[in-house]
């Protein structure tokens, strides 16, 4: 069971969680916290879920096409996914007469060999053009997909940089440098945070890659208390990692150190693995 003072730290995560805006580490941490059965956070979450769920009630009522339900039931019955082609057919035909492209009349039989040759050549050329266009379209779709992924990545990066900028513009900034420990002598990292807004910029480098069933976990250490503050993974050796996160600490006098340990995926309520990075407020 989570201690009462920790519950309130998690309350701030409720709204971004409801809006799906927590980063994966914080989301896992919050869900792990909910899984402990915290009544306060669960109740708060329920309140915000109910509040946001009111918003769609004011939208203009629109009925989906009856085919949607038919398709859904058909999929449940068959246990298969309806083919894309079938869906497109239904979409085209819905609500109005399907536009029919005039069918090219069949080539009339002819006794003139030259004309027949010309017709075959035209047909062959048409098929070749259609095939080339199909390949070109596929290529374009693939390129657009890659560009969209790139845009999403850039947008995320921009968002993080904007958040970092907001922290740097804060009236007051605190920083702690973390140094590598026995498990990772070359590792290092730093945490900058705005003690008023409780947002932090967190960066580490030279940490060993973690196996898929493990994650690094950040801890705030206050006397004997070790407070879980987020998990993250480094998937390749020497990969740098940074993130902007909520961090519920005020000034450096409020706690003793930050530490990073290797824990089972999703994090642990208390540290169980080796310490990889450590940054004490006394040194910093």
């Amino acid at each position: 069971m989570t201690k009462p003072e920790e519950r309130h730290k998690q309350l701030d995560l409720c709204i971004p969680y409801v809006f799906g805006r927590l980063n994966p580490g914080n989301r896992k941490q919050f869900e792990a916290h909910l899984a402990t059965g915290c009544v306060i956070c669960t109740k708060e979450l329920a309140r915000f879920n109910e509040a946001t769920a009111l918003l769609p009630l004011t939208l203009r009522q629109e009925q989906p096409h009856p085919k949607v339900k038919d398709r859904l039931i058909a999929r449940l019955s068959s246990g298969k996914r309806v083919s894309e082609q079938e869906k497109k057919r239904e979409v085209r035909g819905r609500g109005h007469e399907e536009k029919r492209t005039p069918v090219t009349p069949a080539l009339a039989p002819t006794t003139q060999p030259q004309r027949l040759w010309f017709s075959y050549a035209t047909a062959f050329l048409s098929i070749a053009i259609v095939a080339a266009l199909a390949l070109y379209t596929n290529d374009l779709i693939s390129t657009v997909g890659e560009q969209e992924q790139r845009i999403i990545a850039l947008r995320t990066e921009l968002e993080q940089q904007q958040a970092l900028l907001n922290i740097l513009q804060a009236q007051q900034i605190e920083m702690v440098i973390m140094n590598g420990q026995e498990a990772s002598p070359a590792g290092y990292g730093k945490i900058l945070w705005d003690p008023l807004k409780k947002t932090a910029f967190f960066q580490v480098a030279n940490l060993p890659a973690v196996p898929t069933d493990k994650e690094y976990q950040l801890w705030v250490i206050r006397k004997e208390e070790k407070i879980p503050s987020g998990v993250f993974a480094v998937r390749s050796e020497r990969e740098g990692y940074f993130n902007v996160m909520n961090l519920d600490v005020a000034t450096k006098s409020d706690f003793d150190a930050f530490a990073i340990t290797l824990e089972p995926k999703g994090g642990s309520p208390q540290p169980t693995g080796a310490v990889y990075l450590l940054g004490t407020t006394a040194i910093n």
Binding site: L55, R60, E62, V68, K69, L72, R75, A163
Partner: protein
Amino acid sequence: MWLLAILAHQGGHHKQDADLLKRIHRRDQKALSLLYDRYAPILFPLALRVVSVRDEAEEVLQEVFLQIWEKADTYVAERGSVYSWVVTMCRNRSIDRIRSRNFKKKSKEVGLEASQALSDTNPASNPHDLVVLKGYAETVRTALKSLSSLEMKILELSYYEGHSQSEIATMLKMPLGTVKTKMRKGLQKLRQAAGGEEES
């Protein structure tokens, strides 16, 4: 009392919904069909508001009910009503879709505004449900009047368009802290005006 608790008590929907989910978990297609009839008229406009394209909204709707079919056992009653669970699921799927496909650039086929009047031209599948929905919509609209235009704008940008608080702060040229405060205030007002508990 919560607005949706009123819904639950008046229409007995909450218990019915929970029973439907249990039946869905036991692979009862009729139960899913009933849940669809009850909530598709709310979920479809939500998906349409977010993705803006009718065909895409219908795909989202279908995916949501397939997810309910597969994940009915993951519903946790303590975290909210079945209604809020399915609405959240639909909203998140819709947002995922616009994020992954960059639908924001597509021209909107329909311009829907929150707080628009309910249309009489598309009746709900069940006349009783229509009356119930209209009644709640009216109550919610009244509740929304207690929100300032800025609070409403921030909620809409976040809920329907999936923008983060940082993005909204940049878009509206205001401090991130103000956006966070306004969002929290807006949700609290909505809860309170709709009959929710007072903030502690």
